[in-house]
Symmetry: C2
């Protein structure tokens, strides 16, 4: 299947069960998002958690009302119950099922959140001629738990998870400039240089994803990561929660360039 | 004397010989510039050198014609022959005299260049709440010769000189964002982290200015520096050249904020 089909066509294939895997590299140029669906009585606290921690939890969309499964601002015909290749169902904070359609689990009290993801800024870095090591090496980006505390909101709290891409200093400076334009997909890096200063003990042993090569003369550059809210969700243990499966994102009709604040 | 007098009033005091020293900290909020005056037959090559190396040599003003000693874009009544506290006269690349007035040396073939200086971005960093170590410690910023080659233009060439301010990583990232807004005062840093990667052997022994304290957990952050064109001038050895004396800058009527590109 061509990777250059439109975002809408890709969603239709996903809806028909013809695309069930990773969305990385598909519908280039369009925003892909992390999904989080929570019952109404947990949604306000999660919304507040996102607002207090915009770098790891940048909201790019939210359903207008509980029970609403359409998000027209992200795609005219989008149906959040069918348009993601793989969903994870959590009960009391534990993963209980992985499914390709959540129409049978849908409830009138469910509130849908879509958070920005690093695919958008990686595309901007690559377009500028920078190397993105995890793309070069064809692996998942390495991610680490840090000692940077998120601001708590009700039952949601935790420390920030970061992703890491090694770069030469001049490229890291350019990456700060590029990513600053995209605050809704994690924005500028939160740290660079010595990993221990943010509580990362061993850069070669990420907590999530895969290790990547760090060349001599490169600095590790750390971005706030969308795994942060997932960790906060696991700790908060809501009775019911639905997320996307890793790498199986919501593909929207929003051009990445539309997220640029200038 | 109050440091908060207007830029124009400061220039008048300088013109009357009442202020002959450093301009650092005076007329806060207004652009101060590096001065370079060259004979017409050297001016085009110097202009090209500045255009090819905008980070170390950012032009904020240039006289409209040879012999012109007024620069109305930088100050309505500005007279470049009298409005700088101390001038350095170079013959064949050698410093021969330091004077407070160059009316007797003025010639019809002299072309005036004004280059942005770090005072403007240091003010923006301080206004944002960042610490600028050389300001805290009350010393000149440390500057270093690097192995970063400038692009040559005619008789002008050389390697880049950089200034260094140590910062925690998060502050360095913020400094990149702030300084990116000010390309005409050296713009974003050119390097951060390991000094040896840009040919700086001993961070505690600057080639110009004074060493500053680097705290544990801080990165050295390096900016292109206005000493670069002075080094290029010394190497090119034009028969005649006038610059300001270090720290004795041209104070303009241009607000620093006017240099922000956004």
């Amino acid at each position: 299947m061509s990777q250059s089909i439109s975002a809408q066509e890709l969603r239709h294939r996903i809806r028909r069960g013809e695309h069930t895997g990773n969305t990385s590299g598909f519908a280039p140029g369009f925003v892909q998002g992390n999904l989080c669906i929570l019952p109404r009585d947990w949604a306000n606290e999660f919304l507040q958690f996102c607002q207090l921690n915009p770098k790891p939890c940048p909201l790019v969309g939210m359903a207008a009302n509980p029970g609403e499964y359409r998000l027209p601002s992200l795609g005219a015909d989008l149906d959040i119950r069918t348009d993601i290749p793989s969903y994870r169902i959590f009960r009391d904070g534990k993963l209980v099922e992985e499914v390709t359609d959540i129409r049978s689990q849908w409830r009138d009290d469910l509130v849908t959140f879509v958070l920005g993801c690093s695919f958008s800024f990686e595309e901007a870095l690559l377009a500028d001629g920078l190397e993105v090591r995890n793309v070069t090496e064809g692996v998942n980006v390495p991610m680490y738990r840090t000692n940077i505390a998120c601001q708590g909101a009700g039952r949601f709290s935790g420390s920030m998870v970061v992703s890491m891409r090694p770069m030469k200093a001049a490229d890291a400076i350019r990456a700060v400039q590029i990513c600053t334009r995209f605050p809704s997909v994690h924005g500028a890096p939160v740290h660079l240089g010595d990993p221990q200063l943010i509580g990362v003990a061993d850069i070669n042993r990420p907590d999530f994803g895969d290790a990547v090569t760090i060349q001599p003369g490169e600095l590790p550059v750390f971005w706030a990561c969308g795994v942060t809210p997932q960790v906060a969700l696991e700790q908060a243990r809501p009775p019911f929660c639905i997320t996307h499966s890793p790498g199986c994102m919501l593909v929207t009709d929003l051009p990445n360039s539309r997220l640029a604040v200038m």
